[in-house]
Amino acid sequence: MTIVSPELQSRYGKPARIVAIVGAAIMVFAPMVPWVYTGKILDDMRRAFDPSGLQILFELVALVLLGVLVTSMFGVKLGKYKNVVAWNSTALAASLGGLGYIAAIVLAVAVVGSQKGLGGLAAAEPGLWIALAGSVIASAGSVFLRKSPRATLAKVPSPAWVQILALVAVVAMVLFMAAFAVNLTEVESFLVCCVFIVAAVFVFRATGVMGWLSIATANNRKVLMLAAFAAAFIFPATQDGSDANMTVVAQVLIFAGTALGLNIVVGLAGLLDMGYIAFLGAGAFTAAVLSRSAYATFSIDLPFPVVVLISGTVAALFGLLIGSPTLRVSGDYLAIVTLAFGEIFRITMVNLDGTDGPNITHGSNGIPAIPNLDFFGFDFGKSHEIFGITITRQANYYLLLLVVIAIVIAVFANLNHSRIGRGWVAIREDEMAAEAMGVNTFTLKLLAFAGGAFLAGMVGAVKAYKDTSVTPDQFVFLESCFLLSAVVLGGMGTVMGVLIGATILKLLPEKLRFFDDYRMLIFGALLVVMMRFRPEGIVADERRQMEFHDEDEELADEVEEELVTHHDLLNPEGGK
C-alpha cells in the first residue's frame, strides 16, 4: 500500500521515522492515563496506570509499532535479518490499525456517551485525545516510510519445536481473544474489539508472520488441529458457568458443522446446492421422531450414537435422491433443482400433520419437548462440576458438538487429500475432462451429495436434542442461503475458511442484537460486495484464487512463489 509517492518517501524518510517513533511513544504512554471519567462507557477506562481490557489492546498495538520502528532504525546493520520482516509495511499497518482502533473507540464514546446522557465526547478525558494524537502522528510518519521488500521470514528455516510453540501460542491467543470478545456484553465494546481483531490480522499479514505461520501449519497440521480442539474444549471454562454465551457458541458450531458438509458438495465437487438445510432438517426430524418425546411418532429408546447414525443415514438417503438428477443437470440448473427439493422437503414436513398426509411431524408445530440426552448417567440437561469448572447444559451440548465437528473435519480433511477428493476437484474444474481422464463422475457426484448430507444429518440429530424442539420453519430457504454464504464468504474448499465464515455469519448477528433487524440487509449487500471484490472468500484456496484473478499477473507470481517456498520447505531434500 503506497499513500505518498516514492520520491517524497525517499526525501522525507528519515525525519518521518523520528516523527513516527515520537507518535508511537505517545501511543505507548496513552493507556496509562484515564480515557473517560466514568466506568459506564465501554469498559473501565477511567483509572491511571491500570489500563482496562480495551486499553491493553491499544497498548499492544503501540508496543508492536514502537518495536518495529526502533528495530528498523538499525537498517543495514541488521545484516541478514534486514528483510526477514517487512519492517516498514508493518509499521504502516500497525499505525493505521491503531488509528482505526482509537477512532472506533472515540466514535463509541461519542455514541454511548450521548445515549446514556453522559455528554457524548464531553465524557472523554485527555488520555483519549493523547492516544488519538499519538496515532495520528505515528500514521503521518509511517506513510512516508519506504515500502519494504517482501518479507523473507517464511524462508527462514526454523526448528520444529519453535513452530509448534508458535502455533500453540497462536491458538492460545485466539482462545483468549475469543473469550474476551464473547464476554463483552456491550455491543459497542464488541464492535471496538472486532476492529482490533481486523487491525491485528492486517498487522500480522504485513509482517510476513502469516506466511511463516502457514508453513508452520503445513508442517504441523496435526499439532495445530489438536491445539485448536484443546482450546475449543477449554472454552467453556472461560464462561464461568454462564449459559448465555454457550448457547450462541453451540449454535455457531451447529451452523459450522452443516456448512462443512455443504463445503464438500459446493467447495470440493463444485455442485451448487441451494436446498442444503433440508439435510440438517432430515437429521433433526429423524432424531426427534425417534426420541422419547411425548410427541414423537416412532418413539424408540435407542442409544444416542445409533440415533446419530440413523439420522445421518436418512439424510444421506435424501442426499442420494437429491443428488440423482446430477446425472443430467449441472450448473445453475442444478442449483434450482436442489432449491426445489429443499422447498419440497419443508412443505412436506408441514403437510405430514395428519390432515394433509400421515401424521409424522405434527405439521408446523413440529415435535417439542425432546428430553435431554443421558450418557451412562451423565445428564446433559444439568450443570456439572468438573475440576471446579461448571459445565452448563449448553456447554454439555457444545462439547458434544465439538466431538461431532471433529469427526466432520476429520472426514473432510481425509476425503480432500484422497483419490476421491482429487476426483471431486477434477469434476469441479472441468467435468468433461475429468470424465475423459477416467474419473467416475456420476458415482463421485452422488458420493459428494450423500457424504455431505450424512455429516449434516449427524449435526441435525444433535441440534434436535440441543434445541429440544424441531419445527419445519427452522429449515427455510433463507437458511440454505446462509449456509452457502458461509462457505462462499469463508473460502470454498477450505476448513478454516468455512469455520471463520460460519462464525462471522452466526456470531455477529447474535452479539449485535440491536441490528438484528438489519442483518439480512447487510448480509445481502455483503454477498454482492464479496463477489465483486474477493470472490474467493476470506481464506482462499490457492487454486481458486488463481481462477478468480486470472488476469492479475502480480498475484499469480505471488501465489506461485508461495507454493514453491512451501514445496521447498516441505521437501528439503529437493526434487519434485
Partner: protein
C-alpha cells in the same frame, strides 16, 4: 362445465402473471446465461412502485371510472415500470456487469445477495417514508374502480375484470415484445447477441447496452405483472417475489429457457395446471407439484416444451 371454464380463466390469469415474469428470466438467460435470481424482487418492486404512485396521488379511494381507468391506472403502470426498470438496470450495473468474466457461481451468488437486499430494503424502509404503510406485513392494494371486484356476465360465466385486465396486459405486452424484438434495432441486436456474443460485438453491436436493455425489458414486464398481481389478489408484500419468481422460472424452463414464446406458453400451461390442481382439492400440496414439475422438466427435458436449443451448461 361452468366450473371448468371458471378454472380455465383462473388458470389463464395466474398463468399470464407467470408468463409476464418468465419473459424477464428468459430474455436475460438467452443473452448472458445468467439465472437472474433477483428478478422476483424486481416484480415486487414494480408492485410497490405502483403503490407509491397511488400514495403520492393522495390515495384516492372513490374514483370515477373514467379517472380510474384513464388517469390513475396508466400512471400506476408507468410508475411501476419506471421503478422496476431503474432497479433492474442499477442491479445489473452494480452486481452483474463487473462479474461478466467471473466463473458462473459468482454472478449467481451476487444475484442471491441482491434478492435478499431488495426484500429487506422494502421491508425495513418502505414504511419509514412518512405517510407510507408499514411493509413488514402485507399491504392492501388500492382498489381501482372498474377493475377491482367488478365482473361481467358472459353467457352465465362470471368474467372478473381483473382477469380481463391481466389477459389484456399479457396480450399488449406480447405484441410490444414481438415488435421490439423483431422490428427495432436494439431488439435485433439482442437476437444477434444471444446467438453469438463475440460475433455480435465484432459486427459493431454494443453488447453491454444490449444486456442492459434485456434487463430493462424484463423488468418492465415484471412491473406490469406486479400491478396485475396486486389487483388480482388484493394485497402485496415484500415476500411476494420469491414464490412468484420460482413459479415464473419454472414456467420459463417449461417453455424452454431462452425462448420468449416458450416463456409465455409455459406460463399459461403452468397456471392452468395449477388452477386445476387446486380445484381437485390439493391446495396443501399445490406448491410441491409445481416444484416437482420443475424438477422433472429440468431433468428430463431441459430444453422445455418449445425449445429447440439444447442447453448444455456447466
Amino acid at each position: 362445465m361452468d366450473v371448468i371454464i371458471e378454472q380455465c380463466l383462473n388458470g389463464l390469469s395466474l398463468g399470464s402473471l407467470y408468463a409476464l415474469i418468465a419473459v424477464g428470466y428468459t430474455v436475460v438467460y438467452g443473452i448472458v446465461q445468467l439465472i437472474n435470481f433477483a428478478h422476483g424482487e424486481i416484480f415486487m418492486v414494480g408492485a410497490f412502485g405502483s403503490l407509491t404512485i397511488w400514495l403520492l396521488a393522495g390515495s384516492p379511494t372513490d374514483m370515477s371510472i373514467g379517472f380510474a381507468l384513464g388517469v390513475m391506472l396508466p400512471l400506476m403502470v408507468i410508475g411501476g415500470i419506471i421503478f422496476s426498470v431503474l432497479t433492474a438496470m442499477l442491479t445489473e450495473k452494480i452486481a452483474y456487469k463487473p462479474l461478466r468474466s467471473a466463473p458462473r457461481l459468482a454472478p449467481f451468488i451476487s444475484a442471491i445477495g441482491i434478492s435478499v437486499f431488495l426484500q429487506e430494503l422494502v421491508r425495513l424502509f418502505y414504511g419509514q417514508i412518512p405517510g407510507f404503510p408499514d411493509a413488514r406485513n402485507k399491504i392492501k392494494y388500492p382498489t381501482i374502480t372498474g377493475i377491482s371486484g367488478a365482473s361481467v356476465d358472459i353467457g352465465g360465466v362470471q368474467l372478473k375484470m381483473t382477469t380481463v385486465f391481466i389477459l389484456c396486459a399479457l396480450a399488449i405486452c406480447t405484441l410490444f415484445l414481438w415488435f421490439y424484438i423483431n422490428r427495432t434495432k436494439v431488439g435485433r441486436a439482442m437476437v444477434a447477441t444471444s446467438q453469438d456474443q463475440m460475433t455480435a460485438r465484432l459486427m459493431g453491436i454494443d453488447v453491454d447496452h444490449v444486456i442492459l436493455s434485456a434487463f430493462a425489458v424484463g423488468a418492465g414486464l415484471a412491473a406490469v405483472a406486479g400491478i396485475a398481481q396486486g389487483l388480482y389478489i388484493g394485497d402485496i408484500g415484500y415476500k411476494m417475489g420469491f414464490m412468484a419468481g420460482m413459479k415464473a422460472f419454472t414456467a420459463a424452463v417449461l417453455g424452454g429457457i431462452g425462448n420468449i414464446n416458450g416463456a409465455v406458453v409455459g406460463g399459461l400451461v403452468l397456471g392452468v395446471v395449477e388452477a386445476f390442481a387446486s380445484q381437485l382439492g390439493d391446495t396443501a400440496w399445490k406448491d410441491v407439484w409445481a416444484f416437482v414439475i420443475l424438477i422433472l422438466v429440468l431433468v428430463f427435458r431441459p430444453q422445455g416444451i418449445m425449445g429447440a436449443k439444447v442447453v448444455d451448461r456447466a
